[in-house]
């Protein structure tokens, strides 16, 4: 079996300019933020981003000029508000959005995973999402009963980026009991290349104790990197909560281009390792609070 362990730098180098990158993220949850920061440090350009519900990661990638298109169902930091840098980039026409409902996105990725030309759904009929997107969505007749369904063209991302609780050196990936969004349920299965950051790299024997918790088999995974608190400032249930102070600080900075740039210099470009980053955002005292899910508001 092939060993997949690598560094953040080498893992991010697997992402090429102009790639379509599927990113795990649910508003303030579970984004592989260490990888996102590395993509920004490597000055990737022209990426298309696939998200179910993107949060701060999308805002950072937009602010850094890394992405110029987005395929997804929503972008918001929920209680911390809209992603202002992303919003500005879309409103100026710099980032093109292919907005999909959840079932449309799931169908596109499901078709990608199964190597089908398309999968149908009955979601979103009557909405403007379909007419807006003739290249990827078409109303067709069900060949059996004649009712209309939406054919959703297969989406095969070049890369999927996910964060997990633990993995072994061969790329077998395990989750603690938690809510699993389509991010890890379908994105890695549709993508050509899968990069995993894990809170911990463990011996395979540890995985054998709970094989029912293994969510991705190593044979579909290309790179694994151990990154403790790799989802910070998003939450990673059950290990740690979202960093509300940090979200609030970014939401405030993101309203102003200069403040956003200096925030990103401080937290994204300057810390070169995960340890430097964790020290910059508050170190052990902060992490202890987040582990106890002590959110401030």
């Amino acid at each position: 079996m092939q060993e997949k362990i690598t560094t953040l730098v080498e893992a991010a180098e697997l992402v090429q300019d102009d790639d379509v990158v599927a990113l795990q993220n649910m508003a303030t949850q579970a984004a592989p933020m260490a990888l996102v920061r590395e993509l920004i440090r490597q000055e990737k350009r022209g990426l298309g981003l696939v998200v179910l519900v993107g949060g701060m990661a999308v805002d950072w990638l937009a602010a850094a000029g890394v992405i110029d298109r987005l395929i997804g169902a929503a972008v918001t930091m929920e209680q911390f508000g809209l992603c202002q840098q992303y919003r500005k980039a879309v409103e100026s026409g710099w980032i093109k959005v292919e907005e999909l409902s959840e079932s449309l996105l799931n169908a596109r990725l499901g078709a990608g995973a199964r190597n089908l030309p398309f999968l149908p759904t009955r979601g979103a009929i009557g909405s403007d999402l379909i007419a807006q997107n003739p290249d990827n969505l078409k109303l067709i007749d069900d060949p059996f009963k004649g009712i209309q369904v939406v054919a959703c063209r297969a989406l095969v991302p070049d890369v999927a980026l996910v964060h997990a609780h633990r993995a072994d050196r061969y790329g077998n990936v395990q989750s603690e009991p938690t809510i699993l969004w389509p991010d890890i349920g379908i994105m890695p299965k549709a993508a050509k290349c899968v990069i995993v950051t894990a809170e911990k790299i463990v011996d395979t024997d540890i995985l054998r104790r709970n094989p029912d918790r293994t969510v991705l088999p190593g044979f579909i995974v290309d790179a694994v990197v151990e990154v403790p608190y790799g989802a910070h400032p998003t939450s990673f249930f059950p290990y740690y909560g979202y960093d509300s102070d940090f979200h609030r600080a970014w939401a405030e900075a993101a309203r102003d281009d200069e403040k956003a740039a200096s925030f990103m210099d401080r937290y994204v470009r300057t810390p070169l390792t995960q340890q430097e980053y964790l020290d910059a955002v508050g170190g052990a005292a902060l992490l202890g609070r987040l582990e106890n899910w002590e959110q401030r508001g």
Binding site: M26, A27, T28, Q29, V53, G72, A73, A74, V75, T76, E78, Q79, L82, Y86, R87, V90, E91, S92, G93, K96, V97, E99, S101, E102, S103, L104, N106, G110, T121, R122, G123, A124, I125, G126, S127, D128, L129, Q132, I147, Q148, P177, T178, I179, L180, W181, P182, G185, I186, S235, F237, P238, G241, Y242, S244, W293, Q295, G297
Partner: protein, 274 residues
């Protein structure tokens, strides 16, 4: 608390947030399956209230993922782990939740907010402005709402800012189908269900059975029909005769909301402060 709510008198002191919660809670019965999305404090409080009063057997899928959870209060996010506390099951979204939601047999009722809602109940959470590719305002996006609008759900819209800005004649973009152009437009596409009620901070509205235009059902105490019409971006249908008042919360309901369900007042988030 077990029966006190049944005989409790109307509250003298309550907020419109509490009235919206009690009005929504009345819509849910034992064995209904309901779910919530992001930033949904009013529906979440309504589900929790219904479970503590008339519908202890209401089946709630927190964040559309955690079955029958036991959060100790409304948390700061309706899409984070504290809401899923002590769930009976986690529903994996891709394989599980959408099967139940799309099937048609389950999860019949869905509460939702929209940045814009028009006279036929079409919703917009996508873009404000004419140019989709360079919009005046990029909104968060439709998430699962576009699906819920087309798969036979009964939709209940809540709106904490009843104004010509949010209740418009025609939405700039249909993120989720309501009754489209009205009449039988929805049926002609083969769509069942659709918007049932709109609960705003001023009134309760439904849709005319034939024209499918939004229609006043009751005004909240203290609100006049004129004030309501001025606050609506289109001509609201007003039935003949006296317009009923929306039933105010009872004392016991208000006590439960303030002391048990939402002592941190998360329900007040999302209300514009004037």
């Amino acid at each position: 608390m077990s029966t006190e709510w049944q005989s409790s008198p109307p509250a003298a002191d309550y907020g419109v947030d509490e009235l919206m919660i009690t009005t929504l809670a009345d819509l849910f019965q034992d064995d209904d399956q309901v779910c919530n999305g992001m930033a949904s404090f009013i529906p979440v409080a309504a589900f929790m209230l219904a479970r503590l009063t008339h519908a202890p057997g209401l089946i709630w899928l927190a964040s559309a993922a955690g079955l029958d959870p036991r959060p100790d209060r409304v948390p700061a996010s309706t899409l984070e782990a504290p809401l899923w506390r002590d769930s009976v099951m986690y529903l994996e979204q891709y394989g599980d939740f959408w099967n139940y939601a799309m099937n048609g047999r389950w999860i019949e009722k869905f509460c939702v907010g929209a940045a814009q809602l028009d006279q036929y109940g079409n919703a917009n959470n996508s873009v404000i402005g004419d140019d989709y590719h360079a919009p005046k305002v990029r909104l968060p996006g439709t998430a699962g709402l576009a699906d819920m609008g087309s798969i036979g759900k009964k939709l209940y819209y809540w709106n904490s800012d009843h104004s010509p800005r949010t209740l418009v004649e025609k939405v700039d973009f249909i993120s989720a189908a309501g009754y489209l152009d009205g009449g039988d437009a929805r049926e002609r596409l083969g769509l069942e269900g659709g918007p049932q009620l709109v609960i705003s901070n001023l009134a309760l509205m439904d849709f005319h059975p034939v024209s499918k235009k939004m229609r006043l059902k009751s005004v909240h105490p203290g609100i006049t029909v004129d004030k309501l019409q001025d606050s609506t971006g289109f001509e609201l249908l007003v039935p003949d005769g006296a317009i009923p008042e929306t039933r105010p919360p009872t004392k016991a309901q208000v006590k439960l909301i303030r002391e048990v369900i939402d002592p941190d007042e998360m329900r007040k988030r999302g209300f514009r402060t004037n």
